[in-house]
Amino acid sequence: MQLVIFNGSPRGKNSNTKVLLDRFQKGFVGNGGEVVSYDYLIKEKHLDEQVEHFKNADCVFIALPLYVFSVPGIVKKFIEEIGNFDGSGKKIMFLVQSGFSEASHSDNAKMYFRTLAERWKMEYLGTIVKPGAEGIRMMPAMMTKKVFKQMTDFGKQLALTGELEGPALQRIATPYEFSKLRILFYRFLQLIGVANLYWNIYLKKNKVFDRRFDAPYSI
């Protein structure tokens, strides 16, 4: 099976999207799949070539971070450049990863992908939704082990069956929403002041912790 990959992260090679794609490719190529091309959409001067790769593909994989509940601007530009296109007989799949803890925030990006597949008349294989993915490229191995295995398995599934497994897509997209217990737990973390630990580490490192609520454009 041949696959054409597009990485839609503005962070390009330093993206969490790339880290997830790497694991996917490992499972895909390790089971006989072939990656025909891998484009970073951030390289906008190659847009014409990227569109050509899209139109010539048998199976397309577009992966991106969630930006304001939809795709990053560079990805929308790529989609506009492709335009309405008859991709009958071709397949498409997506990945959307986000920093939000709940998968529900990615619902509308996912819905958009479904409608796009319809526009392009391509067979929609599904969307891998991974919440809580900010910092995945820096997390210790024990924290990423599960998601890396899930991504490798998706690659394997695609290479061997040409599809993505429905239940596996559901499993990676968890939690979908916060449970009552989790909300209580979060309130407790807020109370003891560690809910925003991840951000505070950087704010302190950059010596701007005291200025974190600056509102520079206030008149």
Binding site: V68, P72, K76, F100, D107, F178
Partner: protein, 185 residues
């Protein structure tokens, strides 16, 4: 009450989409009813894509590392009472031009997360946020695409702490009606 309005015109091609003509008439009507209006034609601005670096949250709180026209547009927008997000729908979604600017709006909010109605959202950076009016040119968008876009805007403004006051398609209304609706907010 609405006094200051900023119109973000996300039309990439005024020859192709009639949205710009619609907005010009809307602006005229708003001004003649005594409101102050600033229109930003995003197609004429130099606004780079968000880099995803998060300097605006973690290094220079509230300020983007990229120095371009986005800064002035953001200043105008955060100090307005109402911001009009206007775009033709292209490939079932608002334009890359408008989306690109929305991505650059994150300096206006805070990285910290709070839980509101059981769902996480970003906290405020500013005490007050403008309301939103969404004016779209529907073109060939399907019903499911439209429904989806509406929810995206709702989620966005939950995080940008402003209510959606107007959500209209120019094919189904006219500048007079929208101007009237805005004057009565």
């Amino acid at each position: 009450m609405i006094r200051k309005i900023v119109i973000l015109n996300g039309n990439p091609d005024p020859d192709k989409f009639r949205l710009t003509v619609f907005l010009a008439e809307l602006e005229e009507r708003l001004v003649s009813s005594g409101l102050s209006v600033i229109t930003h034609f995003l197609s004429e601005k130099k606004i780079k894509s968000c880099l995803g670096c998060w300097d605006c949250w973690l290094k220079t709180p509230g300020i983007c590392r990229q120095k371009d026209d986005a800064e002035q547009v953001l200043k105008d927008a955060i100090n307005a009472d109402l911001v009009v997000y206007a775009s033709p729908l292209i490939m079932g979604m608002y334009s890359a031009l408008l989306k690109n600017f929305q991505d650059r709006m994150i300096p206006l909010i805070h990285p910290y997360i709070e839980i509101e109605n059981g769902e996480s959202r970003h906290r405020k950076r500013y005490p007050n946020y403008p309301g939103a009016a969404v004016i779209l040119e529907r073109n060939d968008a399907t019903l499911s695409e439209i429904e989806n876009i509406k929810i995206i805007f709702q989620k966005m403004f939950k995080n940008f702490h402003g209510g959606i006051e107007v959500f209209e398609f120019i094919e189904e209304t006219n500048p007079k009606e929208i101007s009237y609706a805005i004057s009565n907010i």
